[in-house]
């Protein structure tokens, strides 16, 4: 394990930025943390998490896929994929790191999505353990350890230092770059922090939330549950949950006519939107209840069925904080799965 004093962390950022683009949570003008490219003067935010999740780096909200030039009856296709450069995402929380695994299973399964794959290959993830979990956190429900996140490098931030441990080759290469700025140390401070935070995690209001009622093979059990009516009654169908969620992966492919060509791009879409399943012959999900149900069935039943029991939720709590009408996956799990949180 190596460490650097918290006062000198900007030197680390400076060193890394010499060779790679470095992104980390920085407080915006509205006080909300957002992943920003580091430059001299930018301060690493103390916020628990950002509103926009780091899935943006691998699965951006808008991504141009290819371009076309048409003339008369002819079409010319231009492959605009370029080689990405290595970049570092610093300060990723355990929940968001797990979300990358969930997205990998979709985008890196055959046929591999080359857009996602190339970004993922070049991304170096430095995760940081949580020191002040929020009441909206429930990563433990999905087996995630907030005190020991995965990633190429795991970091722990204490009152005076930042500790690092490399986990992969990419991580070791990262550590090599900042070798001169860091010093060897033992892991006593880290162990102490892990224990302290673990105790806090046990006291969180949602600590006892269990996902045991859900999983693959439960389509029949839950699809026709009468509770869906009540849960979806006041859902606005706005899609905020989908867009702040680190694991939501639905997208749309559209063409944009620039005036002298066509760009085919993909952009985030939401199964909550009324037009999502609309086709020439109608729409198989005509009311908000069906769309609401689809999103949660996908995360709690369909995704685990196709992915060895892994759930499509990481307990980051963003939907708890951001839904305009305070509906969220916790309320769904408790109502439909009959959970008690005592």
């Amino acid at each position: 394990m190596r460490k650097v004093s918290l006062d000198s962390i900007n030197k680390v950022f400076g060193k890394i930025s010499e060779s790679n683009k470095l992104y980390l949570p920085v407080d915006g003008s509205d006080g909300v943390a957002v992943y920003t490219e580091w430059s001299e003067g930018k301060e690493w935010s103390n916020a628990l998490n950002t509103v926009r999740s780091p899935k943006d780096f691998f699965f951006p909200q808008v991504e141009n896929l290819m371009e076309f030039k048409t003339s008369g009856k002819n079409i010319e296709l231009v492959d605009i994929r370029d080689e990405k450069e290595d970049f570092v995402i610093f300060g990723v929380r355990a929940c968001d790191v797990r979300s990358f695994d969930i997205l990998d299973r979709v985008f890196l399964s055959d046929p591999v999505d080359s857009f996602y794959a190339s970004r993922r290959e070049h991304g170096i993830i430095v995760s940081v353990a949580c020191s002040k979990p929020s009441e909206t956190c429930f990563c433990t429900t999905f087996g995630i350890d907030a005190t020991n996140p995965a990633g190429d490098v795991t970091a722990w931030k204490t009152e005076d230092s930042v500790y690092f441990k490399a986990n992969t080759e990419k991580g070791e290469a990262f550590m090599k770059k900042i070798e001169d700025l860091t010093e060897e140390c033992d892991d006593s401070a880290v162990t102490a922090q892990k224990e302290k935070i673990a105790k806090i995690m046990e006291k969180l209001p949602l600590a006892n939330l269990s996902a045991d009622a859900f999983g693959g093979g439960k389509t029949d059990t839950f699809f026709n549950a009468p509770e869906w009516d009540e849960l979806s009654a006041t859902c606005l169908g706005c899609g905020t949950c989908t867009f702040v969620c680190p694991t939501c992966q639905c997208y749309d492919i559209k063409d944009f006519n620039t005036g002298n060509g066509v760009i085919r791009y993909r952009c985030w879409d939401s199964c909550m939107y009324s037009e999502f399943t609309k086709m020439a012959h109608g729409n198989n999900r005509i009311s908000q209840k069906e769309r609401f149900r689809q999103r949660f069935m996908h995360k709690l039943v369909y995704y685990p069925e196709n992915n060895e029991g892994i759930f499509g939720c990481v307990g980051c709590g963003r939907c708890l904080a951001k839904c305009p009408i305070s509906m969220n996956i916790v309320k769904v799990m408790k109502k439909i799965g009959g959970n008690k949180s005592e």
């Binding site: 896929l65 290819m66 076309f68 048409t70 009856k73 002819n74 079409i75 010319e76 296709l77 492959d79 994929r81 370029d82 080689e83 990405k84 979709v106 985008f107 399964s109 046929p111 591999v112 999505d113 080359s114 857009f115 794959a117 190339s118 693959g216 389509t219 029949d220 699809f223 992966q249 639905c250 997208y251 749309d252 492919i253 063409d255 006519n257 066509v262 085919r264 993909r266 879409d269 199964c271 999502f276 399943t277 609309k278 086709m279 020439a280 012959h281 198989n284 999900r285 069906e290 689809q294 069935m297 996908h298 039943v301 369909y302 069925e305 196709n306």
Partner: protein, 277 residues
């Protein structure tokens, strides 16, 4: 340059023939600009066709894989992309990518069996690729019965081929019907589900169904009343699709992605899916 293979990036195709089949269905012949098939496929699979700036949509490949010269698509005019295609001329380039979807099990499950094809309207399009495959490898299959119905005789797709080729094959029985009586038609009149019951098929067959959802529902009921089991009946579904490879979520029903786990499903597999298709 990213040199990885990318299924979302299509090939360029060109329309070399446009045949008007019915008032709202045209059949398009597509090859690459140098005159070859864009790719090989298996019966029942589909391809994504697009016109840049208009849109992209999934269509079943109606020609059999045994046709080595070109691919055919029978397309009904009902939305943006199809409307645009319907006014396209020979020589128009389009983009094409595929093949997508799981095909009909023509080489394992169907081998050696008697086959009963039941189609309604444009639903004949995907089944035609299977029918012509089976006709090409005729001795691998038993009796072939084809029940096909449409609104009127002008709405019967592939009519010429049905009369001049399919009906003429040994061991192939064609049963046509139209919904309402029409002058110039002295064949059967009535809806496909009732026609199937009237014909009273023996259950020693494997059935393949395709057509409007309501036709599939009632025909399946009809087959069951004749003694068929759901495990003997196959169908192919249609949903809005965007990526075609089970990632974008649009065609996700239950734990299946219709573009990747389907569009061909056995009817007992459909039971396990929520009623959302």
């Amino acid at each position: 340059m990213n040199n990885m293979e990318e299924t979302l990036i299509p090939k360029i195709g060109v329309i070399t023939d446009v045949r008007i089949d019915t008032p709202d269905i045209k059949t398009f012949r597509v090859v690459t600009p140098d005159g070859k098939k864009a790719f090989d496929h298996r019966p029942g699979q589909c391809a994504m066709l697009s016109i840049p700036g208009v849109g992209e949509a999934m269509f079943s490949i109606t020609s059999s894989p045994t046709n080595t010269e070109y691919m055919e698509f029978s397309i009904k005019k009902c939305g943006c992309v199809t409307e645009w295609l319907h006014q396209a001329e020979v020589g128009q380039q389009i983009t094409i990518r595929g093949p997508y979807g799981n095909p009909f099990p023509v080489d394992d499950v169907f081998a050696g069996k008697n086959l009963l094809f039941i189609a309604g309207g444009v639903g004949l399009a995907p089944l035609r690729s299977v029918i012509n495959y089976c006709r090409h490898y005729r001795d691998r299959y038993g009796d072939i019965d084809i029940v096909y119905g449409s609104r009127s005789k002008d709405d019967l797709l592939d009519y010429k081929e049905i009369i001049e080729e399919w009906s003429q094959d040994a061991g192939v029985n064609v049963h046509l019907t139209i919904d309402n009586p029409q002058e110039g038609w002295d064949g059967h009149v009535g809806f496909v589900p009732n026609f199937v019951k009237e014909l009273g098929f023996d259950t020693n067959k494997t059935a393949v169904l395709c057509g409007p959802p309501i036709m599939i529902k009632f025909t399946l009921e009809g087959l069951i009343s004749l003694g068929f089991d759901k495990t003997q009946v196959y169908t192919t579904l249609e949903l809005r699709m965007k990526c075609g490879v089970g990632k974008c979520g649009r065609c996700n029903v239950g734990s299946k992605y219709v573009c990747k786990d389907g569009p061909v499903f056995r009817c007992d597999e459909l039971e396990e899916l929520p009623d959302e298709y």
